[in-house]
Symmetry: C2
Subunit: 286 residues, 2 copies
C-alpha cells in the first residue's frame, strides 16, 4: 500500500473519522460510535482499532489527554456497525486520572452485549519530565525501501485472509520475519515492521494504541496458522511519537498451555521508545 | 530470614491467613478482609499482597480458580486494617471467566475510598493443554546458598527502611544485582533473587501475584533511592508453580518521563516460566 501523495493530517484522516465518538445528549460519559468495516481482518474488528476508539472516548471523558497505561479485556467479538461506549471516571488527580470504559453492541435480540472492557490511567505526555534513560535498543531493521510490502508476497497479502485492514495501514515487514508468507517461518516468534497509516497521517498517542496490534501475529513466525484471539492487551505510552513511520517489534517467548504473550516495542523515527505493550492471546491450533 | 523448620502448608500459612476474605452475608460478591500490618514496607502495604487479596476474592466469586491475566490500578495508598472488596462477574465462559473488583477502605470522615481496581480473566491452569514452547531462558543465577540474604548487607536490610514485609519472605538476591546495598549499583536496572515464603509455604497461583512485586525495586540497581510507587501492574500466570523457591527476575529498560516499567519473569524450580508481569511505576526522584 503506497503512501498517499497528499498526506492526511491528524484530526482529518481515516483513522480519526473511524474512531470518532459522539457524546450522547443527557448521558454524560456515554458515546456513540459507528465501528468502521475498514479496520477488519477477515470478519473481525481489529483489537487495536477498538482500543483506540475506547481510548478516544476516555480522552474526552477524563481531564488528561493521553493513556499512560491502558488495559483492555476482549470479551466477545465486535462487529462493524453501531456501538456505544460507556465511560466512568474513577479518580482524578493533578498529574493523572483513572477511568474505565466498556464498549457494547446490540445483538439480534436487542440485548446489549459487552465487547471489551478497559481500565486506564491518563496523563499528559507533554507534561512529563524530560529525563530519558533507555537501555533498550531498537532491533536491527532494514530500511523501509528494503522491507517487504504486503503485495510483495506470492499470492498477495502476507496475512492469510486479511481484508480491509491492510488497506488502512502502510506496513513493510523485515524480510527476516516474513518467511512464513512463503512457507518458511523462522521459528523465533518475531515480527518486525515499519508502520505508517495508508493516508499518510502521522502517528499520535491514540494511533499508538492501534500500532501495537497492527502487525501479523508472531504465531505466524512460529509456524502456526490461524486465528490468535487477544484475551487481554496492556499498552504503556511512554512518549509522544515524532512524525513519520514507527518501527514496531513483536516478540513471543512463551507459548504454553495454549496461550502466548506478544510483547510489542514501538520506536519512533527519532529513535525514542514510545510504547511498550503486552498481550495474552490464545495460540492458534495450527 | 531462615526458612522455618516446620514448613507451613498451602491453606495454613501466614500468607493464607493474611489474605483471607470473608463473604458478607446478604451481599453476594462482597468480601471483608483485615489487611495485615505484616506485609508493609515502611508504612505502605505491599502491592503484590493487595493484589493477592483481591485475587483471592475473585477466585471465590468466579467459576474458575486461577488469574490467567490480572491488572491492578493503584489509586490511593492502602493502610493496614479493615477493607472491603467488591467483585463483579463480567462474563463467564466454559474455559475462562472475567471479573472486576475494587478494594475500599473507610477514611477518617467515614467515606469509602477506593484503593485499587482490578480487572482479570480467570481460568484453570490445570486444564490448559500441556504444550510448552518457551524460548525464554532463566537468567544466570547463583545457587540459593551463594546468594545474598537481607541480613548479609552492612547495616542490615538491603531495603532501606523496610520493615515487616521482609520477615514474611525468604529472599536471597544475586550479588550481581545487590551492589546498591553497599553503594555500588550496577546501573543495569536488574534485580534477581530466589523467593520463598518465610514459613516455608510453597508457592501457588495466588502467591505468584505476591512474587512479582516482592523484590526491591529495579530503581535501586539504577542508582536511584526512594519510593517507586506502582501505578499499574499486570500479571500473566502461565503455569502452576512446582514446590520450592521461585527465581524472580526484574528488569527495567526504559526510565523516561519520570516513569519506568518493571518487567518480571518468574521461574519455578522445575525451570518453567510460571509468570510474566509488567508494572508501570513512578521513578524515584533520587
Amino acid at each position: 500500500m503506497a503512501t498517499a501523495a497528499a498526506r492526511a493530517a491528524i484530526g482529518d484522516s481515516e483513522f480519526d473519522r473511524d474512531t470518532a465518538v459522539v457524546p450522547r445528549d443527557g448521558e454524560p460519559g456515554t458515546y456513540d460510535i459507528d465501528l468502521s468495516p475498514g479496520w477488519t481482518i477477515i470478519a473481525a474488528v481489529n483489537g487495536g482499532y477498538l482500543l483506540a476508539a475506547v481510548g478516544r472516548a476516555l480522552r474526552d471523558a477524563l481531564p488528561h489527554p493521553d493513556p499512560l497505561t491502558i488495559t483492555a479485556h476482549y470479551l466477545t467479538a465486535s462487529q462493524p456497525g453501531p456501538a456505544v461506549i460507556r465511560t466512568q471516571t474513577v479518580r482524578t488527580g493533578r498529574t493523572m486520572s483513572s477511568g474505565q470504559a466498556s464498549l457494547f453492541q446490540t445483538d439480534e435480540q436487542g440485548r446489549e452485549v459487552e465487547r471489551i472492557r478497559v481500565i486506564a490511567g491518563y496523563g499528559d505526555l507533554d507534561a512529563l519530565p524530560d529525563d530519558v534513560r533507555t537501555s533498550a535498543t531498537p532491533p536491527p531493521m532494514p530500511a523501509y525501501e528494503d522491507s517487504a510490502a504486503s503485495d510483495d508476497a506470492p499470492g498477495g497479502s502476507p496475512v492469510p485472509g486479511a481484508t480491509s485492514f491492510l488497506d488502512r495501514i502502510d506496513l513493510r515487514l523485515d524480510p527476516a520475519t516474513a518467511g512464513w508468507a512463503i512457507g518458511m517461518p523462522s521459528g523465533a516468534g518475531d515480527i518486525r515492521g515499519w508502520l505508517g497509516l495508508a493516508d499518510g497521517r502521522d502517528h499520535d498517542a491514540l494511533s499508538l494504541l492501534l500500532a501495537v496490534d497492527a502487525l501479523p501475529p508472531t504465531a505466524f513466525d512460529l509456524g502456526l496458522k490461524g486465528w490468535t484471539p487477544t484475551l487481554e492487551l496492556t499498552v504503556h505510552l511512554r512518549a509522544r511519537p515524532a512524525p513519520g513511520r514507527l518501527l514496531v517489534s513483536l516478540t513471543t517467548r512463551n507459548l504454553a498451555g495454549g496461550l502466548l504473550e506478544e510483547d510489542a516495542q514501538v520506536w519512533d523515527g527519532a529513535g525514542r521508545l514510545v510504547a511498550q505493550a503486552r498481550q495474552l492471546a490464545r495460540a492458534p491450533r495450527g
